[in-house]
Symmetry: C2
Subunit: 546 residues, 2 copies
């Protein structure tokens, strides 16, 4: 984390167009919000706590709406309660895939800006760079206790570990749920081919013994400034222990800080499910998503109850959402990763890839039963939480922060939004731009202008009728908006992906782990510099597994 | 309408399979329901009134769910109120297109059984036959006052007029909204080609002057046993007066019968919209569906208020629903006929064609906030309303009644359903069978068994992943179910479409109308019997406009 830089927060270009039109009224509204927050701080003697629960792969509508529960064959009673007592978002955007989404929400920036636009798999030898200033850095700086539990998926290099990114304590997975398949059961279910070295038979024709990962780490635990340790093994049994252990530690973290009257920031990002079809059916749907979500939903209820019992519910904002749309392409074995309202899923620039189930709960501050139609991006949590923590001054000012302070939406409700745009990246490619109800897709082979298509998201929410003539009036406006976005990048360029040796700095590293950290061949014998090809940026390949 | 026949109601074969398993508990439940209804009758001194409002072309979710309102850019505050105070259906099925849907709901039978599987256009020379026993016949027989207002769309032959089908009074349209385009504005909007004779220029090459309709009737009014009259003209101005006039007469009908303490059955089926894009934008969506629905929604609120003020709300069941899914294929000019949760729209056997927005309201009898996940078919209203009216004995017993008495669902709520199956016809073709969560599509070129595909509606609500291996266990069960359905048809065959001379029996018939009723050429000069080709059944052509 770099030193704090003075000056105002730098927004993306589009924001200034809005600010010019609404700045005066926003500043007035901000004063009222500040007064309300001061009143709250007076009452509790501390800045509000932040609980951020983010799970995988769920479309808008799959949680929080009882009528849609009936259609999907699984219930989300605690999310529904959260919607009744708090707010349901109908236009909550994320990045389109796991790693980018996690990078964006933690940095308040589109993932492309931090080079985190690839989905990480073993062995990535890359991750979130130390140049980034995460939400944990900002809130730590404001005196918050910070904890990360669950699916991190932000790289396997040492600087990317949560405790090197501002968190005080952690139990985390560097990769994703696919690893739950890398065992005999996954192989038996034909869910995974034996490409992983421990699963391979001896092949008499194999010449290169270094192709493919020979080992991996499923999860690690550690504390800031303390040791980082591999946690248990990479077996399926231990995989299944990660979420329950993270839930336990999350509750302990809340209780401990409540007792110490210390403001806290908890990020719990559950694994949600194993990709091994689960014989324990918990819902009538029998689907991998619905069954997996039952425990997440129950935990959300537990958190609300716990905060209430501890007497800090009114001083804690809880925000829950999925990290991207459902895995409808190349889905894991087991049923139920499905589209409903929106078209597409994880990896898509369609609404179904980026418009997710999302809820917020903050008794006394969020009006019960609020339904928020305003555009909200997961990146907005960064400046919003910073503002609640009185830590806006700790946001770095030497880079673009895409997140917008949307405290007004939480406190003043529907139609208080300050965002009407979104740039939708898939990998490092700008695939679509959204402005209000309109969406222009820049890529693909669609009817319309060559390489371009226009949609009206109210009248064609599934983006199936690219309309040209009715929307040509927006064409040059979209082009102008994109130009502003691109030209601002010339001043504040995207960072390349941060790369390095994987899995260094692990106190209990096994011999296999140490081998992963070191080059598998003698570098002296290569006629080229391995750092050069490690840092080489390939064209984005669109790999859509999370 | 034929004489009443003694004996029990004949159901479709599948029902008996369910009854064998649940008959005892249903009979017990029915006794409890009867006691509850008797109590209500005691209180009000009359059987409950029935208000049935059915509009065009709306997907599930477009009315009654506030969060989806945000996504579609239009509000349905009165439907939302209806859901809060009454019941929202999440699995309410209809036929896939207008004419079949209207025939099914009125006769309690799949449209294919009455020959009403074609969508009527000028000049159809066909319609609902006098052999059918409609809901109006049944409720009239039980002493109800009956009124039909709005879009009838059940033919242009005299026996099909509402007053010849059991209704005491009517103002109705024999066809659909397409006629709102048959004028200079529609032509100017390129929405309709000049195929209608009054719109044609003189064509020196035209040899046959009888091809295409030369005139039509937009709307008619009349009373049972009284005169039938053309109402106003077929101009766009007069078209736009139909819904307001029907609303006015509907309210008058309610007030009049409330004053006379006579039980009543009101069917108001609004036109909803003109297909002429409306410059009066009522919603942010600016869509033809959302804008058009504003007045329907407002009227629904007016009805609830009126019933409450008259003190008969607790003795009136109000059921509102769309007649089929949105017109996503060949949509009318103007935006907004769109899919959301389900795939497909009007004319499709996909859920999007047949699973619609539906609500029920009956203070004191329906638990507020009920969400009904049970399968319910619009045909079920027929025996259900008959039961409420104490008129089950008037249901004909010489034919299959596909509707199932679902009073239990209304009064006892979610999971009280008595239907787990549906046969989905498009035209006279059985396109799909549904049993519980499973759906088997019989037609089309899908992966799976040749000519067949299986879907799990919980885990794949949009029917995009036809699964074979996981569902092969249901294959022979589906085949058996279909066999039972088909073999029962051998005993109770489908009726052919009823045909005849159009627009007879109109007291104020214009010369042009009289010409429509008579053959346009000298029948003596034809070398074949015109009745023979009039009655000839063409293969169904799948014309999907309503």
């Amino acid at each position: 984390m770099p030193e704090a830089t003075p000056g105002p927060v730098v927004h993306d270009a589009e924001y200034y167009v809005l600010f010019d039109q609404h700045g005066d009224s926003w500043e007035l509204e901000d004063k009222q919000l500040d007064a309300k927050l001061a009143e709250l701080e007076e009452k509790f003697g501390a800045k509000p706590n932040v609980v951020h629960i983010m799970w995988d792969d769920m479309a808008f509508g799959d949680a929080g709406i009882p009528a849609l529960n009936k259609i999907r064959g699984f219930d989300t009673p605690n999310c529904n309660r959260m919607a009744e007592e708090g707010a349901l978002f109908t236009r909550y955007y994320t990045e389109a895939a796991c790693t980018p989404s996690r990078a964006a929400v933690l940095t308040g920036r589109y993932a492309v800006r931090s080079g985190m636009y690839n989905v990480a798999f073993p062995i990535e030898a890359a991750g979130l760079g130390s140049e980034e200033v995460t939400m944990a850095n900002v809130l730590s700086g404001a005196g918050y206790a910070t904890a990360f539990y669950g699916k991190w998926h932000l790289g396997d290099i040492e600087e990317s570990y949560p405790t090197n990114q501002g968190f005080d304590e952690t139990l985390f997975t560097p990769y994703n749920q696919v690893l739950s398949l890398w065992n005999r059961i996954g192989e038996g279910a034909n869910a995974v081919q034996g490409v992983i070295r421990p699963m391979l038979v001896d092949d008499p024709y194999e010449v290169d013994k270094t192709f493919g990962p020979s080992d991996w780490i499923m999860s690690m635990e550690g504390t800031k400034g303390g040791e980082m340790l591999e946690w248990k093994s990479s077996s399926l049994e231990d995989y299944n222990q990660i979420d329950p252990e993270c839930e336990k530690r999350s509750i302990e973290f809340i209780r401990r800080n409540a007792a110490e009257k210390k403001p806290f920031y908890l990020a719990y990002w559950p694994l949600l499910t194993a990709f091994i079809p689960n014989p324990r059916k918990q819902t009538v749907s029998r689907g991998i998503l619905g069954d997996g979500f039952q425990s997440v939903d129950a935990f959300i209820g537990q958190v609300m109850d716990e905060l209430t019992e501890l007497g800090i519910a009114e001083n804690t904002v809880v925000v829950c959402h999925a990290d991207n749309g459902p895995m409808v392409h190349n889905p894991p074995p087991g049923l139920g990763m499905a589209e409903t309202v929106f078209r597409g899923g994880k990896s898509d620039y369609w609404e179904g890839g980026i418009r997710v189930a999302a809820l917020a709960w903050w008794p006394g501050m969020i009006e019960p039963g609020t339904i928020i139609g305003d555009m909200f991006h997961e990146m907005d949590l960064y400046p919003t939480f910073a503002r609640l923590a009185g830590a806006t001054g700790l946001i770095p000012t030497d880079r673009i922060i895409d997140g917008i302070d949307q405290t007004a939406v939480l406190v003043n409700g529907d139609t208080s939004g300050r965002r009407d745009y979104n740039f939708v990246y898939t990998g490092n490619i700008l695939a679509a731009s959204i402005k209000g109800r309109f969406k222009r897709v820049w890529v693909g082979d669609h009817p319309g202008l060559p390489g371009s298509a226009f949609y009206d998201l109210y009248n064609d929410p599934r983006e199936v009728n690219p309309a040209l003539v009715p929307f040509l009036g927006t064409s040059s406006s979209f082009t102008t908006m994109r130009k502003r976005h691109e030209i601002w990048k010339q001043k504040y360029p995207d960072r390349p992906t941060k790369r390095g040796a994987p899995f260094t700095g692990i106190a209990n590293a096994r011999e296999e782990t140490k081998a992963l950290s070191n080059p598998p061949v003698d570098l002296e014998k290569l006629p080229f510099d391995p750092l050069e090809y490690m840092n080489f940026e390939l064209p984005w390949d669109g790999l859509d597994a999370d």
